[in-house]
Subunit: 279 residues, 2 copies
């Protein structure tokens, strides 16, 4: 009895994404990290023009000081322990300050391939939908698991952004695809099972890359993705102010940025605190 | 059966404050706002040298987007609705990333004079003590209420920082004292009932003051406070990088800074987000 309601909800959500891409000249920002889960910083991001926000469970591990973890690397190992009710509360809070026109996609325990198997129940999808999420930010690593998530998400009116990774990635955040041809093939298959936004993990989060540059292979993989599907495309991992234009030039629609923004906020805090202390 | 335990806990806490004041040449920082409740930004503050942190319930209203409120002015009207369990969770998370040597004082619903009468029970003090708080950041506005809080806080091993305000303050955050002589008299009385750190509310949070300056009357009130008690002293309200030295020159031991730090973090986020968006 809710199929039309949910279709309507998803149509509105899709329009928010497309409008943001158009407004920002073909490439917009999905602002995450502290701007995804702290309402003060989400507001700052929106005030500066961000239209797409992403709260996620590993970032909430860091926000809450959960188990004393202070690195994203370690947060990924325990992110599944954050209760989904906490993610719903975070989403609801960000939605309240964001208003209805901001697109919010949420990373939830079980939406990624977790260290501990974490099952998403129907009521979890409903909870996220009711909490104000437009979509789920999904990092499943098999097509079969992803298909199940997409079906449930759509049933409860949530879009899905999902990702393609590389078989050799240190942390697995997507369906593995080895060559650019594999990327194109996997992307088409993801589109066929109904994924609403398809992204490429750069694998650059844990590598050092020259400022302003992206490796040729990442450029090729991104172009393969962009050229193979009609849905909006994303790039995630190691995107910063110095290399963003290299990403933009591939034609990708959405840059997912968290760490680079967190680092700038953290540095501002350090500068502020230092100025109030005479050592 | 816990009197010696609690005395020991308070002695350690007191030493943390005194050591920080000495380390920072007589005036240290109590870092609050986003650095009090977001573990990522608390870590940044500590990395930059902060030794004293203050999570508080109105800041958590803003952090959680509670009821869509985005201004501190409005947050003060609903801060009492934040459950004390939430403040305990925040404190525990910040403690976990801060380690044992950072002084943490916490603003909790009922620790201020609230819009709705909010009673603190024995178990609330115990909860905060167990969550890792060294002290309570108290904004009671009558000596009688403050005395009750101090007694309970001490019984459960928590120090108390409490404040002196002005009868004409828009928001009441302290025991009212009209003249500098009144400030000195009230401060002595606060010390007598056992307040461990005594602060002056500048009333400047909601006023515009010339950069680098503080009004002569605030200077006189602060000097009256500093000259009248032996416990560490604080100044709170409208302290920023431009006027901090004027505060420092009064001999006050601790500058309580929240909004100025939040603003710098928010501006850094705005700058970061703007740089990822081509309008």
């Amino acid at each position: 009895m809710i199929k039309a309601d949910m279709k309507r909800k998803m149509d509105i959500a899709r329009k928010k994404v497309l409008d943001a891409i158009e407004l920002h000249g073909g490439t917009t920002l999905l602002s995450t990290g502290i701007t995804g889960d702290d309402a003060r910083m989400a507001k700052a991001a929106i005030d500066a023009g961000a239209k797409l926000l992403e709260p996620n469970h590993p970032a909430v591990v860091l926000a809450r000081g959960y188990k004393g973890v202070t690195s994203m690397h370690k947060a990924e190992q325990i992110r599944h322990e954050i209760p989904i009710s906490e993610m719903a509360k975070v989403t609801s809070g960000v939605r309240q300050i964001a208003g209805p026109n901001i697109y919010i996609t949420v990373g939830i325990p079980g939406g990624f391939t977790e260290v501990m198997p974490t099952i998403l129940k129907d009521e979890d999808f409903l909870l996220m939908s009711e909490s104000g999420a437009d979509g789920l930010h999904v990092h499943k690593t098999s097509m079969e698991d992803l298909k199940e998530v997409v079906e449930k998400a759509h049933y409860y009116g949530l879009l899905v952004d999902a990702y393609i990774g590389h078989p050799s990635d240190l942390h697995s955040f997507g369906i593995p695809a080895e060559t650019p041809e594999d990327v194109a093939r996997v992307a088409v298959e993801m589109e066929e099972i109904g994924v609403d936004l398809i992204g490429l993990m750069t694998g650059m989060s844990y590598e050092g890359v020259a400022a302003g540059e992206i490796p040729e292979i990442i450029r090729e993989r991104l172009k393969a993705l962009v050229g193979s599907v009609r849905v909006p495309t994303l790039a995630e991992g190691g995107i910063n102010v110095h290399n963003q234009n290299a990403f933009r030039n591939t034609g990708v629609n959405i840059l997912v940025v968290g760490t680079a923004i967190d680092d700038m906020a953290g540095n501002a805090v350090k500068e502020a605190v230092s100025s109030f202390i005479k050592q």
